[in-house]
Amino acid sequence: MKSKNRESLTDSRELDGSYDPLTDSVEDDFELSTVCHRPESMDKLQEQTKFTKKELQVLYRGFKNECPSGVVNEENFKNIYSQFFPQGDSSTYAHFLFEAFDTDKNGSVSFEDFVFGLSIILRGTINDRLNWAFNLYDLNKDGCITKDEMLDIMKSIYDMMGKYTYPTMQDDAPREHVESFFQKMDQNNDGVVTIEEFIESCKKVHVHCEIVMVLPVQPWLCRSPAHLRLISNH
């Protein structure tokens, strides 16, 4: 491997050996830097998810436009997601979302992961959806949500609001939110919320109604510009 072919002449970092020729250089030789992932055929995806062919097509076009290599890595995912929340910092929440979508834990979300997740969220039964939401909150995937996990999630959601809010964001807003959440959800008061408590409480509190009403069922029937293609909910 050749060494770097351009030095940093704008400062004297190179002279002090602070410029690492191995990692900081412009590679002259070509490495196969493009990882290309091809998804399964449309028929298979159609069987495994609840989308029609047309919807799959639209989904894939949007996906491929943002990620031509066929997979999203976490950085891209955060970039895409942050475009929707210009005022706040959505990177933590995007990280949690990424973990929830990346079911096989290989550090990247392929089109199949993406479509499976969306299929559950948009077309699944109430139980499926609540299950998915539970999975999102359960950060270490151990089957129960502790207060700390909930606090992390809540902070990340509040981070998305940014600084300029009305009323002014207090520091313990997330914590209070978590307290009230636990009050409602944790029925046996053992400090954690299990999946059954979660589903039951949500059903009681009509959360599922909102999920049905707010989340789109018939997506992507319009042509959308590139940057809103991914979550054009209808």
């Binding site: 002449l9 704008t10 004297s12 002279l15 005022q87 509040y158 600084k163 809010t165 939110h177 707010v214």
Partner: protein, 640 residues
């Protein structure tokens, strides 16, 4: 087998007829083509331009988009063609690759857009043909350098939680990060200059009045110069040790150029301290003092020009080597010739061939000191040939070095320019970001949001505005695109979840200040009759933009704004008055209060007052919309 060659296979098989008569063994059976599909034409519609090719052509490369089943995702049933919303010009190159097996890079194309298209179609760029490969690599390298420049600037951003050592290293490497670093930078620069000047002045003869002998200043003011030297060396030593301490990889630092220069600069002093005033050793000691001049190289941390020069010389090592080699050859040749030519003449200075070297060098570089001149005719002839060829030999490699220097220098100029423009670029990015958030706030304020909601067919009905706002619907359907409204819906869901609203910076500053001022809790819930209070609020809201509504049917919508007081003590009583415009409303409340204000002809002013509530009245946890029992919050609406 290359794609182009495959087309000739039938010919080669037919030509095998020549072997049949002379074959001894029977020929094998020809493979039958199972399920020979009639080759069909595929239409590829790329942004309107239709390309047609055979299916087999595309199947040649099954690990690309067009060659695999991935293209089925782009199949359009109605028009029976594959539609790609990409650049048709670049697609030409892509399709030619399938046809000819060679990928060409069009020179006029931007390298990053070309790379993107290749990535989209799943083609690895390594297979670019030789004819275009160099150009491609050059452009790619330029682009990468540009990106690296941008990243370098980001590197300077201060990372949180840096250890003291890391902070120090960053301060050393980039003096602009903190004032201390800048001070240090200038102090070391000053001391380098002082040290170099001291060394120079030391040798200047200072006239002494008493004795006629001129002594250099160094010997006259020995103590003073010694103190100066000590001070400089102390500073340099401290600096070196600090750098050594802060370096992330000490081993690498110690091997680097600058550290060697540092060591060489301060070592003579210490050696001088250690060595005694020995007669035979002091000669060597004097020689060691020569190394003190290396201190001037320490300036290369301070000067970009020096670094460019050094880098140029390093990168032109081969040209310099060639120059040196050809010069040496010429010197030897001419020296030999001159020696033998001048051998005959008496009292000639050309005593040996090495002695003639001096003459040759001085002549070839057109210096001509004149201390050695040829006297014989032959010597003069060869001497003139020598000086003519000297000019040529030196003039040849020099332009290469010059052009290298020029290229590197311009590169750095460009990098500096880009850095200067970085501010403008960041401002552009910031503007585009705030543009989208401002759009949301703007639409919120003007109440276009809830009308825009009508455009989306949400399952639950808005029975309030149905009857009234048909005209406005039409008006608004033009102004807010569907996507914008969906984006705004998303942002509003977030607002509902956290029970805070997005506001712009101005309003935030305002309310922040007012939150400090207002400490008294308000008791009376209805202020409908208190004009006085109204007026104070109006002034606060005066900055808000009120969009005038048409006089005809005006839907008045409730404007509940839920405020959550987390700290029961400090309540912020807010009164929003929007005499003219509608504003965003929370969806659930509209649902739950179906008997509200309907559209009436007159202008309606609504006042919303928030009642101080006990803390922890946040709406239910993670749902997108606050569910039913949010009534503890604070909404009271009264129509004036």
């Amino acid at each position: 087998m290359a794609a182009g060659v495959a087309a000739w296979l039938p010919f080669a098989r037919a030509a095998a007829i020549g072997w049949m008569p002379v074959a001894n063994l029977p020929m094998p059976v020809a493979p039958t083509e199972k399920n020979k599909r009639q080759d069909e034409l595929i239409i590829l519609n790329v942004s309107g331009r239709r390309f047609q090719t055979w299916r087999n052509t595309l199947d040649r490369y099954p690990d690309t988009l067009l060659g695999s089943s991935e293209k089925e995702f782009f199949y359009n049933e109605e028009t029976k063609e594959y539609f790609f919303d990409r650049d048709p010009d670049v697609f030409r190159s892509v399709l030619n690759f399938y046809r000819t097996g060679k990928l060409h890079y069009p020179r006029y194309e931007c390298i990053s857009s070309y790379d993107e298209e290749l990535a989209f179609f799943g083609i690895v760029p390594e297979i670019i043909g030789d004819c275009c490969y160099e150009e491609y690599k050059d452009r790619k390298r330029e682009n990468a350098e540009r990106l690296m420049d941008d990243q370098e600037d980001n590197k300077d951003a201060k990372l949180p939680n840096m250890t003291f050592r890391e902070t120090m290293w960053r301060a050393f490497e980039n003096p602009h990060t903190s004032t201390m670093a800048l001070v240090f930078y200038y102090v070391t620069g000053f001391f380098i200059a002082v040290s170099v000047i001291t060394n120079v002045v030391e040798t200047v003869p200072c006239g002494s009045a008493l004795n006629m002998k001129e002594v250099p200043c160094g010997e006259r003011y020995t103590v003073a110069f010694f103190c100066m030297d000590t001070a400089c060396v102390m500073i340099f030593t401290v600096e070196y040790l600090m750098r050594l301490f802060a370096a992330p990889s000490r081993y690498r630092f110690m091997r680097s150029v600058m550290s060697i220069i540092d060591v060489v600069a301060i070592l003579p002093y210490y050696i001088g301290l250690v060595m005694t005033d020995n007669e035979d050793v002091s000669g060597a000691f004097v020689t060691l003092r020569v190394f003190r001049v290396f201190r001037i190289f320490k300036f290369s941390r301070h000067s970009q020009g020096l670094r460019i020069l050094g880098y140029t010389l390093k990168s032109c090592a081969s040209e310099l080597g060639f120059l040196l080699f050809s010069l040496t050859m010429a010197i030897i040749i001419f020296a030999t010739v001159m020696f033998y030519a001048e051998k005959g003449s008496s009292s000639s200075k050309f005593t040996s061939i090495p002695a003639s070297f001096w003459y040759t060098i001085v002549t070839m570089t057109t210096l001509g000191y004149g201390d050695m001149v040829p006297k014989t005719i032959a010597g003069k002839i060869f001497g003139s040939i020598c000086s003519l060829s000297g000019v040529l030999v030196i003039a040849l490699p020099v332009p290469v070095i010059v052009s290298n220097f020029s290229r590197i220098y311009h590169q750095n100029q460009r990098a500096d320019k880009r850095r200067a423009q970085k501010k403008a670029r960041l401002a552009r990015i910031r503007i585009s970001k705030t543009g989208s958030s401002n759009a949301f706030l703007h639409s919120k304020r003007n109440g276009l949001f809830n009308e825009a909601l009508e455009l989306t067919q949400l399952p639950y009905k808005m029975n309030v505005s149905d009857q009234c706002s048909t005209e406005e619907e039409q008006r608004l359907s033009k102004s807010t695109s569907l996507l914008e409204s969906q984006h705004h819906h998303l942002l509003t869901c977030l607002e509902k979840t956290t029970n805070h609203e997005f506001v712009d910076e101005q309003y935030y500053q305002q309310s922040y200040l007012e939150a400090g001022l207002e400490n008294y809790p308000t008791r009376s819930p209805s202020l409908s009759s208190q004009e006085g209070v109204t007026s104070t609020c109006c002034s606060r809201r005066s900055k808000k933009h009120h969009s005038p509504l048409p006089n005809s049917s005006e839907p008045a919508h409730m404007q509940p704004l839920t405020h959550v007081h987390h700290q029961g003590l400090q309540e912020l009583s807010t009164i929003h008055i929007q005499p003219l415009s509608t504003s965003r409303s929370s969806l659930n409340l509209r649902m739950e209060e179906p008997a509200p204000l309907n559209c009436q002809g007159s202008q309606i002013t609504t006042a919303i007052i928030s009642i101080p509530t006990p803390p922890v009245t946040t709406p239910e946890g993670d749902a997108h919309l606050p569910a039913g029992p949010a009534h503890q919050n604070v909404v009271k609406v009264s129509a004036l």
